[in-house]
Each structure stands twice: as C-alpha cells, then as structure tokens.
Subunit: 463 residues, 2 copies
C-alpha cells in the first residue's frame, strides 16, 4: 500500500474521509485508557500531527501503549472525520507496526524545554514544535526571496566565499589556510609566507558579496546574492552569529529611491508569502512565541514605509524631550534606542532614514551634493530597529578614489572595483538584508541561535 | 520618460512597434557609414543587444560614431520593426546621451578572446556574450532547483559552512582560524592550543552538508541543501574547484530506488526549465560552444535512465573487448573511461550504476544483504561521466557502529549522527549533485572556472 503524507490528509481531508490509508512517521505522544490507545504521529511532511486511535482488539495493543517517543511507526487505518473535536480528523488504526525503535532516554520528552537546552540537542530540536515551525518558515522565506527576484528579472549570482582580499571593510575576518600551523613558513623578512598557502596568498572568509555583486550588476543590470557571510567579531549577543546568510541585491541604473522601493517590496513580499504558505506555523508563533506578531507583521505589510533624512531624524529626536542613554547630535551613528524610538514611538511603522553623514558610512557610498552626507538609507522596523542597510554606490571615479584615500585605504586593492567606474560608469544602488534578522522578525524568535539549524557563535561550533 | 528594458522589447515587440521609448545601456559595438551610425546596446536585462540606428542630422553624430565600447548610453527613439533582417526590430534614435564614459583601452574589445584571457578580467567578462549566457543560465538553473524541491514538498535547509569536526570524510579541508599565525599558541604538550581560537576548537570549511542534512530529514522527511562546499585538494584540473556549490537532498522513508527516481526527475527538470526559460542563451551554446549540445540534452531529458548493478557493469566492461587504460576487475573503483564507455558506448543514455563494493564507498552507506556491497548509486551521463552520487544511508545502529570502527574512525566524533539511529531509526536516502557539474553539462563549457563568476582553484583566489 502506498504511503500517504500527513500534509495530504490535512490539505484534502474530505477526499480521504472513510478511506484506508497508510502513513509512516514518528511517535510524538502516547496515552491510553483501558480499552483505547492514542498516539500522535508526525511524518515530517507537515507541521501538525495526526491522532491515531486504536482499540484493545489490536493484538499488539499493550506494546503500542508503551512506545517510546520518536519510535518510527507504520500506521494502517481509516480516516475518520471528527468535526466536533479540535483536530478535523483522526485515523482509526487497523494495524500498527514498529519500523524503527527509540529509547526511553530520548532527550526530547513531551514537556517544556528551555531554548538553551534545546540548543544542546540541535540534531533533535527540529522535531519539536517550535523548531519544526522555525525551519519550515526559514525554507519558505528563502523561497520567497528567490521567487521575488525571479519575478522581477534579477539574476542570482554566487559571489565568492573565499576572498583573496580584505578590502570589503565590513568587519573582522576569519583566515583560511592549509599551512602547517605547527610550523608556519616564514619569508626572509620574518613575515608569514603565504605564497606557500593553498591559494598562494592570504585568504579570508567573505564578510559581504557586495563589491563582487557590483561587477555583475554592471553586466546584468539587476542581480542579487543569497549566501553565507562571516564575521569574526567577539559579540556574544542574541543578534550576532559568526556565520549567517545575507541577501545582497545590486541594481544598475538605480538611485537611492529605487533601492528603497525594491527593499520595501521585498520585505512585504516575504511577509505575505510566509503568512499565506505557512498558516499553521505562523499561528503557532502568534499564539506561543509572540502574541503581538500578526499585528506587527500586518502593520508592516500594509504600511507605506516612511522616508526621512538623517538630519530630520536627529531634529525629531532632539525635540522629542525623551531622555536617551546616548545623547543625540548631528554626526553620531544612530543607536538602537534612537532607531526604535523613531520607528515605534514617532512613526509606528517602518521608516527609511536617508542621507547619513559620510564620516560614519562606508567609502563606496555616493557623496551627495552637499559634500557632507552620502546617499545611504537604513530601513528601521518597529520591534527590531535596523533590518536593511543600503546606498547608492559612488560611480564617479575621481570621487571614489578620493574617498578611498580619505579612509586610509589602498587604491591598489581596489583596482578591479575602480575599473568598473572607468569602463561605463553607471549610477547604481544596492542593499543588504540579513536573512536571520528577517527570520527573527517573522517568527518572533528573539535569539539568532534559534533560527539557524547549527549556529556558529563565539566559542561555539558544535555539531 | 520612463526606461524600457530590452527584455520587454524582445518579449513584446509588437506592442512597442512605432512607439517612442527610452533605454539606458552599454555600448557593445559601433560602426558607421557616411550618413548613418549603428550602435549595438545591451542594458543587462536580456542576452541580446538592440541595434540603434541614427542619422547625421543628429547634432552629436560624429561623437556618437566614435564612442568607446562600454560607454553608458541613454537612447531615445522609435521602435521600428525590421522583419526582413536578422533582428526583429531596431531603434531609430532621436536623441543619444552619454551617461557614463568608457575608455579606449577597454580590455574587452569586439574580437575573439581566449577563455584564459577572459579569466584575468573576471570583473568584466560577464559583459561578453559567452559569460552573459553562462551566468544567466546559472541563475535559472539555481531557480529550477529551488522550484523543483518546493513543488515536491522539500524543506530547504542551510547546513553549516564552518564545521567543528572533520568527520565528514569527503576530502581535504581548509582550516579556519583567528589565531595569530606569527605566534601560534601551544599547549603544555606542544599541541596547537585551539581553545584560544575563535570557536574554542579546531574548525574547517565544510566538504559536504550531508550528515547535518540527515538530522533535518529525520524531522522534515524531505530536505535539501544548496550551498557552497570546499575541497583543499591540489587538483589543478578543468573539473575541480576549491569552492563550489552542491545540492544535497536527504529523504526519510526512502530507499535507493526512491533517490534514483528523484535524481532522475531533478536532472530532467533542470534541463527542461533552462531550455524553456533561456532559449536565446541555449541557442548560443548550441551554435558556438558545443554543436552537439541540444542532441545530448534532449537525449537525457527524454530517456528513461538505465539502472544496472556494479557487478553487471564490471561484467559488461570485461566482456566488451575494449582495451582500457585501467584494467577492470570486481572491486575496483570505476574510472572516468569506464563510466563514459558504459553510458556512451553501451547504453547511449544516462545510467545509474548501483550496489558498489563496500570497501570503496563511505561508511554511512547501507550495507546490502550480501554483506559485500552497499546500496549506493552513481548517475553517469554521456559526455561527462559521474554527475550524481548517492546512497541509502545505514540506519541500523549496530551495523553503522561496526562500519565506523572498520574504517578506523572514532565513534565519539559521530555521537549525534549515531543518536539519529537510536531515537527513531528510519530508512533514508540522499544524494549530492555538484551544481557546477550540471552547469558544465547544460552549457557545454568545459572548464569549471568558466561557470563560476570568481573561481577559486589551487594557487588562485583573484578578485
């Protein structure tokens, strides 16, 4: 008999009414009365379990009422609609067969576990309701990203993970090497002899695909990356991981305004796609993880995002009368407290803050006419703060070279990046969206470790 | 006036007939007669260029006939249908404006360049026809992969890039470290003190996401990874890169046969999707890169893949009378010459070779009843040889433990992998498809360096 998936049973319940089916899955709970047994089974195809009911007429009744959690079970039986109860249907079993055993010391017993404990069993936690929902939503959100860009004519590009330069300038990097660390080869001058390393030079893990993506945007107009990036920062916070996935679109013939339009459309698209395609999982988050979730997400999906300049933002904050831990004056980098005040108290919706002082922003951002600010914009959302950062890129060769010098960087390291401005300079813009940041926003999960299957953070690379 | 994309002009030509449009793009070629100028422009939205025609009545006629290649040009003019010529339409320009200059030393002049030369200008080569086609197809093939798995209920999982173990056993690894290599800290015993490293332990770049993906398959039934993997092998060949993308599905409640069904469907799906969605690019490859391409791809897309056992394959090879460089006997690992002979000369279609001797396969492959072979299968395709490798995974705890010991591995390193067999063991299968391998197959490009935007190979991590 062919296997039926639990997802099919839930999606086409009527079709299966009173039909015989066979499913294979894992035991989630077991209980019994004297003459009845009840087993909840999950087969991985769907967030919800199916309730199996069986009678003591079953020859292995006793054994079945004592199955350890996570036993692999084959169930044959009849689908019975139960409109009066919580589940829309159950399966009345005619045959139950153990396909794979489990053990009574199974670490994920039916009780409340802390998220901290569940991280220590990262190989098993996807079997819990919370992580089943988180990683299903992660998958759907990733698909939404690809679908959005595909529908809008963007070319997906894979920029390199291993970089031969440290000119990305976005943070501390991990070194990659095959040199013998017991006996590191040195040059005559006493430097490390990277010419003997695998790539014949010093290499690191990428912190951003942006500079590479720009080369492709100047060929394909609209491109995006979606891949892992790395930061070797010693930040042991709930929002930082050493390894995380980033979405980095780059668009030629696009100004700052165009980037903001695309970022706004993307964020709304992801929210709507996940709400539509993971209703059960999202209901779970809204009920058990973050009771304000739907209100918050719907507010984002249905608002026109606000747009104010940094100068206006500073003015609003200064006149607010609110006492901030970090005092506000023109020229400072906005802190999370400022960002959240703006988006939560002043606007109560997502806002882009634009045109930051050039001194607090990266060298590749386009200098505005005023000579003091750059065409950058950060998207701030209620409940989190910054979720997207982006800018128009400096396309003028002379201005860019000057900025590189001002920042104390070496022009030679950027030869190919500069050549993009020499051969067909084009106004262009791009942004970065941290995938885990948007996942935390979508699910209400408050620690980045809980939206990554096997998180890598300072001092921790288990599994 | 709003910009029109060249893609729109090609896809909805009739709609634009005799209409005024504005496009912005880059100059690909320039030529002129005394009274007419012709510029081919590409705006990145489409593989093909648009021909711009302009008359000497244009005030900047002279300047326009001398534009360097890759100048950024804004064109206003009328779309004129040209059914009698090669292109279906051209734009009769009323206004041409230089938006960004280029230089006469532009390295990608209109002439034939070698692929080797183009690798030295990897930041510009996406602007050439060949690489424009390659990277568009790369993007579409990636989308096809996600679409296929989404439609089939697979959960996309991101397995870690940084691994804390070297137990994947699939090849040599790159070390990741933040230790000071000038002064590597040592323990009292003289070992490297990895407790001082970023993760407090030795870490490497992943060579495969399989083992991690198995943990997720045993929660979600059907999952797949699609991400970068790394091999620090000193193989300076046309088929090996140090950094490449892999697709690794894992399926619970699936036997070897089920893996083969899914792999066959996936390969056919990718081919059909790309043929349908990149007709211009594929036509280009078939005409200029590999004249047998369509024949080969259609043969794959329309064949029922063959399935023979390793033992049968050895028998066929031995009886073939063909003289191989590596002699064939039961127990050897099949070489490319054997694989290609089978798929090209004997079957002339893709074939799965199944049930290899266990001694030449990995520890996690399921041991068959005969005790000598494992439930593994490689997919061989004409023109390339192996393109997919996979197996049923050993789900029996005692057999798996024995295999780990036999292979001289340490059970402790596999504690979490073994626990998957302790808590709800389930038959399951999976496979790996090298993304660049299938891209080479799809495009006819014969060097892996030419299907990766910025390739990383022994001795080379430029850009």
């Amino acid at each position: 008999m062919e296997l039926t998936l639990i997802k099919q049973l839930y999606r086409e319940t009527e079709k299966f009414a009173d039909k015989n089916v066979k499913i294979s899955g894992w035991v989630r709970t077991v209980r019994d009365s004297k003459t009845f047994g009840f087993i909840e089974v999950n087969d991985g195809s769907f967030f919800k379990n199916v309730q199996i009911v069986f009678e003591d007429s079953l020859e292995n009744f006793k054994e079945m009422t004592r199955l350890p959690i996570s036993t692999t079970l084959a169930v044959e039986g009849t689908v019975v609609l139960t409109p009066e109860s919580k589940q829309p249907f159950e399966i009345k079993a005619t045959k139950l067969t153990v396909e794979g055993t489990s053990s009574s010391d199974y670490p994920l017993q039916k009780k409340r576990h802390t998220l901290e404990y569940l991280r220590t069993i990262a190989h098993l936690r996807p079997r819990s309701n919370t992580f089943s929902a988180v990683f299903r939503v992660r998958s759907l959100a990733a698909y939404a990203v690809h679908k959005f860009f595909n529908e809008n004519g963007f070319v997906y590009v894979n920029t390199p993970i291993i970089t031969g330069s440290d000119c990305e300038g976005a943070g501390e990097m991990f070194r990659i090497t095959t040199l013998d660390m017991h006996n590191v080869p040195k040059t005559e001058e006493g430097n490390i002899d990277f010419s003997q390393d695998f790539f014949g030079r010093e290499t690191n893990l990428t912190v951003s695909g942006q500079l590479s993506a720009e080369t492709l945007a100047l060929a394909f107009r609209n491109v995006y990356t979606f891949g892992p990036t790395f930061r070797a920062e010693n930040s042991n916070t709930a929002r930082h991981a050493a390894e995380f996935w980033m979405i980095e679109p780059e668009m030629a013939f696009a100004e700052l305004k165009d980037y903001m339009d695309v970022a706004e459309a993307l964020v709304k698209y992801i929210i709507k796609y996940v709400r539509e395609n993971a209703p059960e999982e999202m209901e779970f988050f809204n009920s058990f993880v973050d009771k304000g979730l739907f209100t918050r997400l719907d507010n984002v999906a249905n608002s026109d995002f606000g747009r104010i300049t940094y100068t206006e933002a500073v003015d609003i904050l200064q006149k607010s009368g609110h006492e901030f831990q970090y005092p506000v004056e023109w020229g400072i980098d906005l802190q999370t407290e400022h960002e959240r005040y703006l988006t939560e108290k002043v606007f109560n919706k997502p806002i882009f803050v634009t045109d930051y002082p050039k001194d607090i922003k990266a060298f590749y951002m386009r200098v505005n006419e005023d000579g003091k600010t750059v065409a950058a914009a950060d998207l701030l959302v209620p409940g989190v703060g910054e979720i997207v950062g982006g800018s128009q890129r400096e396309e003028r060769l002379d201005v860019l070279e000057k900025r590189i010098e001002e920042m104390g960087l070496n022009k030679k390291d950027y030869w190919w990046y500069l050549e993009l401005r020499k051969y067909g300079e084009t106004k262009h813009s791009g942004f970065g969206l941290g995938f885990e940041r948007i996942l935390m926003y979508l699910t209400g999960m408050s620690n980045i470790r809980d939206v990554i299957p096997f998180p890598r953070t300072t001092g921790s690379a288990e599994f």
